[in-house]
Symmetry: C2
Subunit: 525 residues, 2 copies
């Protein structure tokens, strides 16, 4: 498939006039063709107007039509075949098996949302029947459903070129909610973005939907990204990336005439708490699991375990020694972009040169460009507590072990943490009381609490929470992974005394969609 | 019952050191005793620390204990008896019957949330069972529930001294969610606030809850109000009031180290759309209903119908003439505070002196202080579209009729509107197509769409949405009235592979609470 290097606006391919973007193969440093002409205000305006024009019709598509559309997007992505895999590998330096797995996850995610759309629970239909004879005042018939917020701007993430990019989780959940989507493609994988964008474009046409349901724009964050978030026709934003990027978008969104929600997944160091009995009984095995999680994907996951917090002593020493030994032998891995590699080098440098931090081990040095050399460091709880900078995320395969005097200090460090996507307990039965004492703190700090697993690997399912208190995300009330992600793009509307002929399908007294409504406070079964 | 004039912090009564607040009887201008010593940073700190200390225990109270607490608050409010009614009447100028009705609503609201808490649907429990044999990767057991956000700051509203004040809807829903509450009492009704605050204080003690579950502070918005919103221990804010007040709180909340959600219900002019057939068939009866809604409570409702949008012609002229005639005879009513009266006078003055606005009628002039003289005005759609200022809410009994050339201009005016709490259609069967054409716009603009009713009178039930796009509220995804208000104060947490002994009650495999969980995406019945 020939790449054109153009933004996809509705059913058209449009060349922008701003500076061109070139992908770079991070494994070789080689620049990849074609050039992607950057968009500007004109392309933002065109895509936003098309999205706005499509909104009222798209949000009222039937559950079945919308589900089929999501499934068609999945099939069209699969139909690209090997071209997609090869291009994504070249643009990201990620292994082929990983990209293939990620394609499966992306298409599975779209099909999960198709099921969620059909089930219709997201409509949260509530009916409070009229009480014409109530004293002192009658009650009118009141019905509630949820409707889509409006066109959504989605920012592709560098570290998931498929699953959190053009047709990733944010796009799938926004489309499922009934929102048109405009993607600001990540500049690190424009070819992958064009290929997936064309697949979505085809699905829109095949399903006979208004073209403005989907566009993907190439360009700079400042011009295209900020322009989208500031546009009055955009009503919500999905973003996965850095803290500085996320907070910049939050600020733009808040300064609009009509402020809008920004769902930014930004920053997390995912503390692991090995509890005493588990640490003593199986510290070495734990160390192997820990380093495997730390090194996965060169540590370029939002849920990478960047912090280990435990009571000091022989058991922790043995864990650290073993982890250091395993890490020392770990091969270097190509990072996603030269920029990410540079930031990683600087972050590890800050730890290496910190006078309160001890370097335990570094992994193998790379021989090709942009290779991540893993790092393991140790510091004392008091030093960690005294220096906010030690909580800063180093994106990549690096972790810091915090030695605590006792359980009370472990809890103190936990309370001191910023908001996280995940926290992990490593525990045995004998640790149950210690775990119970920590749990209230951990729940307050994170969106997901794991026991005896590792935080990398985020299941796409119904119970998943990939979210958490600020700065892990901008909105702790939500998740960006799993079926509950749809709720981010909905708002409730109440219809009072509306005649059956005017009521939307979901609310008609005849209940043509067969929904289990909340009827006067009782769930229909 | 003797009023002490002190803030209630946990179980104590505390005198502040800032300027004192005196209630004023708006019907007489008379100052009411006692003086309320204003709190400052010290009181904010004390209440916030107590709330923080109470949080972990309170959010894990059993559903039954929490429900009984809410019911006990209701009983304790009723137990104050006539003292509460008399004081509220003196502080607000509202009629006794209205205050009695509002007490009923307030207690009913608390009891509704008790039922909601017991039912447990708000926990939104989701279980995705482990799949140990899944290929290529096993799935861990994943469970989700919702937990409380943290201590909540609630700002009492001037226009609902009971139902949206110390133990009103924001407080009831936050307590139901498991959040301790600190109320910043409205300075217009401190005595009412103290009485209700003591009732809640008693309920906390009777139920054996940690004292920090509830406090009420007196003081200035700048010192106590802003101090609460900026405090790192406060995790959400509930506010009903002016647009300037709400946006000021939003700004403080966004500038915190950890930004927090502000649920501000601020500003709405609640447009009414009389459609042609209905206007022709029953314009005069409609005019009577309209003026009755407009004059209710001196127009001091968030849902007061401040705008009428219709096609010009004989039918609209007859409606306007009749409405003007009824309004001319309407008695003046005492407004809540001298400040609100002054703002009303200025707002009506802006309309009266606007060169594109025609005064149709004014109501009776008052003979006692602070009396609202109703107003009805007319302007042309083109003039309304050309002047943003004509969309500004005038809090009180005043409405502006917009004459449109045709249905297309009606729609154009609707699209031009800012976000609203309500929009109302007055329609007959022959108007169905016209209504259908307008509905997509109306849904986008408001949280509640009414047919053939009037927007005043907000039912406390399950399907109610008292919310809407900015600037009606700060967060269109929520409602501040009705049982769904609880969702504002919750966030999801996922528990991965957690042993049964550590799992919270709601998530145990044995399902001791008997909840209907979402099991692998299927709703249990």
């Amino acid at each position: 498939m020939t790449l054109e290097g153009k933004s996809l606006i509705g059913q058209q391919a449009v060349a922008g006039n701003s500076s061109a973007i070139h992908a770079v193969n991070p494994a070789t440093g080689e620049q990849l063709d074609p050039a992607y002409a950057g968009g500007s205000a004109a392309e933002v305006d065109k895509a936003a107007q098309l999205a706005w024009d499509a909104f009222d019709a798209y949000r009222e598509t039937s559950l079945e039509d919308r589900a089929v559309f999501l499934e068609t997007v999945a099939s069209e992505i699969e139909a690209i075949g090997d071209d997609l895999i090869q291009r994504a590998v070249a643009e990201t330096g990620l292994p082929q098996a990983r990209i293939e797995g990620e394609r499966g996850r992306t298409c599975g995610q779209l099909r999960l949302f198709a099921k969620v759309v059909r089930a219709g629970e997201w409509l949260d239909v509530r009916v409070d029947p009229a009480m014409p004879d109530r004293q002192p005042m009658p009650r009118a018939d009141l019905r509630q459903r949820h409707i889509a917020l409006g066109p959504v701007a989605v920012f592709g993430a560098s570290n998931f070129p498929l699953a959190f990019s053009v047709a990733g989780g944010d796009t799938a959940s926004a489309l499922a909610a009934g929102c048109p989507v405009i993607v600001k493609a990540h500049s690190a994988h424009p070819g992958t973005s064009e290929l997936v964008g064309r697949a979505v474009q085809k699905a829109v046409a095949k399903c006979g939907l208004p073209e403005g349901v989907f566009s993907v724009l190439f360009g700079s964050g400042r011009e295209v990204g900020a322009g989208l978030v500031a546009d009055q026709r955009i009503k919500a934003v999905g973003f996965t990336g850095s803290r500085s990027g996320g907070t910049a978008l939050m600020k733009i969104a808040q300064q609009r005439k009509e402020p809008i929600p920004v769902y930014a997944e930004m920053s997390s160091i995912n503390p692991v708490f090995p509890l005493p009995a588990a640490l003593k009984a199986r510290g070495e095995a734990m160390a192997e699991g820990f380093v495997a999680s730390l090194n996965m994907g060169a540590g370029q996951f939002c849920t990478n375990p960047g912090l280990v917090i435990a009571e000091k002593g022989e058991a922790l020493d043995a864990f650290v020694a073993k982890a250091g030994e395993v890490l020392k032998g770990s091969a270097s891995q190509t990072m996603l972009t030269p920029g990410i590699f540079d930031a990683y080098q600087q972050g590890v440098g800050r730890l290496s040169s910190h006078d309160k931090v001890r370097e335990v081990a570094r992994g193998q040095v790379g021989e090709t460009p942009n290779q991540c050399q893993s790092g393991l460091f140790v510091t004392a709880a008091a030093d960690f507590l005294a220096d906010e900078a030690l909580q800063e995320e180093v994106f990549g395969s690096t972790s810091l072990v915090i030695e605590c005097a006792d359980a009370a200090e472990v809890k103190q460090v936990a309370e001191h943490l910023e908001g996280q996507l995940t926290v992990t307990l490593q525990m045995d039965d004998a640790d149950l009381d210690a775990a119970r004492a920590l749990l209230p703190t951990l729940e307050r700090k994170a969106g997901r609490v794991l026991v005896n697993g590792w935080p990398t690997g985020v299941e796409v399912c119904h119970a998943m929470v990939h979210g958490g208190p600020y700065p892990a995300t901008s909105d702790s009330r939500t998740t960006s992974v799993g079926s509950a992600a749809i709720f981010r793009f909905l708002r409730p509307v109440c219809y009072q005394a509306m005649p059956e002929g005017l009521l939307p399908e979901a609310l008609k007294e005849s209940n043509p969609l067969g929904l289990k409504r909340l009827d006067d406070g009782q769930r229909e079964s």
